[in-house]
């Protein structure tokens, strides 16, 4: 086992709660629906008489209710009279199912396991023999173990993430003592698959509904997606003239400025500002310079290379960089990815100068507030070129050199771009990752908190 893989697995084991990976490109809700169909099929294969009660538990009450509803509906469709039992635990569910007149009860526990939405449980008879007297003996049939799994998708993750009942720590932002840290579990899923490499990512509220849209720049187009991965609009970038010096390493810069998409592909001579509306992207104007940091800065591509240089009059950058990520909260922070795995983190961008030097960071680097405390975490991919297993590391704010707070082994591909997004109305942000796969396609992953 390689060092990278062993390290990733060990990190995953240590964290325990980290659940990673997902594949396939299901439609919204497909994973939950698939799982419900499987579970219902297993139940129907073992029971011939209804009504049947279903009790589902999971880390998320919303997911539990959704899965129970779908299973019960499928059982009813099969003529088995499905009913949902609402109970705080499986033991109480048995008594309630019996009280409601169910002939059998399916008790299912659902959760995420290594990118799979998994359901396990049992099926038991709830009919009590009159001759048993006061002893609630169970009938010999039905009795079965239930198990089903489906690849997780973004919708399943959203269901898991929805029930935030525990308070989230909120940073004071003023330098005072912070509340005690809250244990946060994060997970990832595939939001979308794209036919070519994602060369830049951005997110912003393009339709003013309070939730960000996702902007992915690929070799050929700009794609705007909703928070659930639905494609809202596409814009062909091949109409722009080619750069005078083509760039071998595919790279672009993208950001959202006042609700409009600004991007500049390094293989094109110009960039563009695009406005989203009516299900389409409209060119507002062309750009001569590379848009950066939500419009706070701009630069120029180094001819023929994968680097952006900025005028020192605008920002005392530590050197030409691959990408620049910003976080706008109480103060504006930025992190630049430099060649050779180096970086620079600026607290109070851009006035604070070149900032703190970072080492060992990768192309997929972003600042995002995973726990909603108002202070950004720094997420970064492996610094190695084409590692056997890429790994996302998340660092809390503080002097560089401390170990990462979380580590996620990426199921497949290389993480080459990253961006923060707010895909719901919670305080916490999500992290978008663009991974390049060996076959030339790419996946858009979303990392989000799933608990508490």
């Amino acid at each position: 086992m390689s060092r990278a893989r062993a390290g990733a697995l060990a990190a995953t084991a240590l964290l325990g709660a980290l659940l990673m990976g997902a594949s396939g490109a299901p439609a919204p809700g497909a994973a939950v629906e698939k799982l419900a169909l499987q579970v219902a099929g297993e139940i129907a294969g073992r029971v011939t008489e209804g009504p049947l009660a279903v009790h589902v538990s999971s880390p998320s009450p919303v997911l539990s209710r959704a899965l129970a509803t779908l299973i019960a509906a499928e059982l009813s469709r099969r003529g088995l009279g499905g009913m949902v039992v609402d109970a705080p635990d499986a033991v109480i569910a048995e008594a309630r199912a019996r009280d409601q007149g169910a002939r059998a009860l399916a008790r299912v526990n659902a959760g995420l396991e290594r990118g799979q939405l998994v359901a396990r449980g049992d099926l038991l008879g709830t009919w009590v023999n009159f001759w048993s007297g006061r002893s609630p003996t169970r009938p010999p049939q039905p009795a079965a173990v239930l198990e089903a799994a489906a690849e997780a998708d973004a919708h399943a993750l959203a269901l898991l993430a929805a029930p935030v009942t525990a308070p989230i720590a909120v940073g004071t932002g003023g330098g005072g003592e912070r509340p005690p840290p809250v244990k946060v579990q994060i997970a990832s899923a595939v939001l979308a698959k794209l036919p070519s490499a994602i060369v830049a990512l951005a997110a912003g509220d393009l339709d003013r509904d309070g939730v960000d849209e996702v902007v992915a720049v690929t070799e050929d187009e700009v794609v705007v997606m909703a928070a659930d991965g639905r494609v809202l609009a596409r814009h062909d970038v091949k109409g722009l003239p080619g750069a005078s010096a083509p760039v071998r390493d595919p790279i672009a810069a993208a950001t959202v400025v006042q609700g409009q998409v600004a991007y500049f592909h390094a293989r094109r001579a110009k960039g563009e500002v695009l406005a989203y509306g009516g299900g389409a992207l409209r060119v507002v104007r062309e750009l001569e310079e590379v848009p950066l940091a939500r419009g706070l800065l701009s630069g120029r591509w180094v001819p023929g290379e994968n680097l952006i240089s900025v005028d020192v009059q605008r920002w005392n950058a530590p050197g030409p960089f691959h990408s620049l990520a910003v976080f706008e909260g109480g103060r504006t922070d930025a992190v630049a990815v430099l060649p050779g795995g180096a970086g620079a983190r600026v607290r109070g961008f851009p006035a604070a100068g070149s900032g703190e030097i970072l080492t060992g960071i990768g192309a997929g680097t972003a600042l995002f507030d995973v726990d909603g405390d108002g202070v950004p975490e720094l997420a970064t991919s492996s610094a190695a070129y084409a590692p056997e297993v890429d790994e996302l590391r998340v660092y809390v704010d503080g002097p560089w050199g401390a170990p990462p707070k979380w580590q996620l082994a990426v199921a497949r591909g290389r993480v080459m771009v990253a961006a923060a997004a707010r895909l719901d109305r919670e305080r916490a942000q999500q992290l978008l990752l663009g991974t390049w796969l060996a076959d030339g396609t790419s996946e858009l992953l979303v990392i989000r908190r799933v608990a508490p």
Binding site: R3, P246, D249
Partner: protein
């Protein structure tokens, strides 16, 4: 914090290095042991070098080549190492990636109609398309000195206009796109590097359509095995080509196909009809690979290399029975004067045939003359090495052309091209290769893969589907 990434491909793990008797005297026992362990030719070490996940631009890529520099003419490639270097100056039309398939580099292949192919050239001057079309037309002629003309056999009516090449297909040929990525069909200049003068460093070509290579320049040093290996061992070279390093290296993570095949071609009219049986009984491909071929190679028992025939291919039926009576015939074996490997193999064949009563005269000739003698059929025996395309049907076409059976192409290729399913077509091509092996006037000998070692500072080294290292993709990490 540093993470390591092992990037490694691609050599058939069955490949073995051998030693020529002539060279073994120069090889220390330690080095012999090391080379015996060497089962790879393209290798990349695990490296802690950081790259931020993106290639770094700049620096000088230093290459030690244990062989003379090859001509940039794609038709003259004679070894996988020099073929890879030649592609830096004379680029193929496209890159055949093992995982991504056909990747456009200097031309984009489209099929406006099922029976037509169109190449949209990227960059270059207005005459680039017409120059390439003229070159293809010349290569297609019956008198062309290259067996690679078989790759163009499906095309008819090649025309060029305004950066575009159009051609019709004489018959369906699903392997056409992959075939057109063969280095022999590419350009003769305009690659990712330029060479201002023959001995000057290669300079990055800023206007190369796919983008300039990552290093600023490439410094090529040629020499014998020992000098090249010494340069690599002392870190004066980032890449070692055509020789094994002084120290044993770990095995590769992924095998590369050995598609550089060497054949012994004969003319029955000159050599006698009984020669086939004599050759089959006396020339031992395994023996050649183990003792006379100095690079990673695999013996060929079938018409096509094992990488193309697959594991299901059965070895050929042995030619049994009594040995033919010694005919006391005198023959001449031609080989490329520039290739030590061919000389060693030719000497071995000379010895083996001598035992069977043949007097074989060895005649080293310049490559151009070898091609001319092959094209006109003016030879008894000759050694020829070819880079076969990684598609069994297309490789079979080249092999038939090498055997001088251009007349078979229309019949065989029409049948193969009509099979739309790729796996079924490959299987059928293997069947035809097995059937044709005994009837074609050539003897398969061995297939080679590149012998390449890379220093830990070099990253991004991969092989294409031809088994050739893609040198324009590498970069130097900061160390």
């Amino acid at each position: 914090m540093s993470l390591s990434g092992a990037l490694s491909r691609e050599i058939d793990p069955t490949l073995r290095s051998g030693h020529s008797p002539a060279r073994s005297a120069h090889v220390s026992s330690t080095r012999s042991a090391a080379r015996a362990l060497l089962v790879l030719s393209l290798f990349l070490t695990t490296s802690d070098a950081l790259a931020a996940g993106r290639p770094r631009y700049g620096g000088t890529l230093r290459v030690a080549l244990a062989s003379p520099v090859a001509e940039a003419d794609p038709l003259s490639i004679d070894r996988p190492e020099t073929a890879a270097l030649a592609a830096l100056l004379a680029p193929p039309l496209c890159r055949l990636d093992p995982q991504r398939g056909v990747v456009p580099t200097v031309a984009e292949l489209t099929h406006p109609q099922p029976n037509r192919v169109q190449l949209l050239l990227r960059g270059g001057g207005p005459r680039r398309a017409s120059d390439l079309a003229a070159r293809w037309s010349t290569l297609s002629q019956p008198g062309a000195f290259s067996p690679y003309r078989a790759l163009l056999a499906p095309l008819r009516g090649i025309t060029a206009a305004a950066g575009t090449i159009d051609a019709a297909l004489a018959f369906p040929w699903p392997d056409l796109d992959r075939s057109l990525c063969h280095p022999a069909l590419g350009f003769t200049d305009g690659g990712p590097y330029t060479a201002p003068t023959p001995r000057a460093p290669y300079l990055a070509n800023l206007s190369f359509p796919e983008g300039r290579p990552f290093p600023d320049r490439l410094l090529l040093t040629t020499g014998d095995d020992r000098r090249s290996a010494r340069l690599f061992a002392t870190r004066q070279a980032d890449l070692l080509f055509g020789a094994a390093p002084d120290e044993a290296q770990p095995p590769p993570a992924a095998p590369a196909p050995a598609l550089f095949a060497t054949y012994l071609v004969y003319r029955s009219a000159h050599a006698g009809t009984e020669l086939r049986t004599v050759l089959e009984q006396s020339v031992d491909a395994q023996d050649l690979v183990q003792r006379f071929v100095t690079a990673p190679a695999v013996p060929m028992t079938q018409l096509l290399p094992p990488a193309l025939m697959g594991g299901a291919a059965a070895p050929p039926a042995a030619f049994s029975g009594p040995a033919p009576r010694a005919p006391a015939r005198e023959l001449t074996l031609l080989y490329d004067a520039a290739l030590d490997e061919h000389r060693a193999v030719a000497e071995r064949i000379q010895v083996r045939l001598h035992d069977r009563g043949y007097k074989v005269a060895l005649k080293p000739v310049p490559r151009a003359e070898l091609g001319a003698r092959w094209a006109t059929g003016d030879f008894d025996l000759l050694l020829q090495s070819l880079l076969l395309p990684p598609a069994p049907a297309a490789a079979l076409a080249v092999t038939m052309e090498l055997a001088g059976r251009h007349d078979l192409l229309a019949v065989e290729l029409t049948g193969l091209g009509s099979i739309a399913d790729g796996a079924a077509r490959d299987a059928r091509a293997r069947e035809r290769a097995a059937s044709l092996r005994a009837s074609l006037p050539l003897l398969p000998l061995y297939a080679r893969a590149p012998e390449v070692s890379a220093s830990p500072t070099l990253q991004g080294l991969r092989s294409d589907a031809f088994g050739l290292p893609m040198l324009d993709q590498v970069f130097l990490s900061q160390e």
